[in-house]
Symmetry: C2
DNA sequence: TAATTATTGCAACAATATCGCATTACATGA
DNA sequence: TCATGTAATGCGATATTGTTGCAATAATTA
């Protein structure tokens, strides 16, 4: 299934590039210039995730946030990093540090979802 | 506001003690002997969280999971640990390791939500 | 330019979680 | 033991988030 370039896909990517942060569908819809259906935004976001262009985090507000994969490796085995969610400015940013954990051999970790919540630099 | 002992509160606590894992409202409702309303279970769980008896994690399935605070300190500053969610047996367990992260000074972390997902010891 | 098929919008749906309000029942003091 | 204040509960309604089916649209390419 080959992907197609559409105004929608470009607009979504541009918003994410511009803010440089992880955003929810809702936040994206608000910041975007053109009008895009909610379901479509989700589909675009999920498609980008499949393609390794975006990654998804679920914060403890139970919402999904999507961000550009920068240092993420395209060869699947992405380096998992922490995310910081500021409750004041309501943004989520990817933190540079890698997530380290130790776990018994037999356990197989397929996904890592780490979000720290609090107030960020500017809001503290 | 003084807490009261009710069959509901005891039943919920007992289920969590018995399994020793983090459970969702749904899982608790299924395992419990008596019939308790959904909203009530949520209220009981949230009350226990306020009292520092339980702690809550949100997994990347966007659901809330509640577990007994064992090594959690009652003096608020609880030691944050990783959680492991097995997609096969659909349970979440608290891992012993502490979550270590570094973050710029001005940032203030108020909550840590870390969930690893995959297959556990028994299901691998 | 026509044809193929990925993409979109709309509406409906599912699931999780919360809230208001009337009712019930726990716990305490008399 | 009983009466009373009020925390806890059940019910229904509601909010929010995210997904899906289907028909219509539009991007690619030959």
């Amino acid at each position: 299934m080959k992907r197609r370039n559409t105004p929608t896909t470009e607009a979504v990517l541009n918003v994410l590039k511009k803010t440089g942060k992880a955003m929810s569908q809702d936040a994206i819809e608000q910041k975007i210039e053109i009008e895009i259906n909610r379901a479509t935004i989700y589909r675009v976001l999920n498609r980008f995730c499949e393609d390794g262009i975006l990654h998804k985090v679920v914060a403890e507000d139970s919402k999904q946030y999507f961000a550009l994969c920068l240092e993420c490796d395209k060869n699947q085995e992405s380096i998992h990093h922490f995310h910081f969610r500021c409750i004041k400015c309501e943004t989520i940013e990817c933190l540079p540090g890698e997530v380290n954990f130790s776990i018994p051999d037999k356990y197989k970790v397929k996904n890592v979802n780490c979000v720290l919540t609090g107030t960020c630099d500017e809001c503290s």
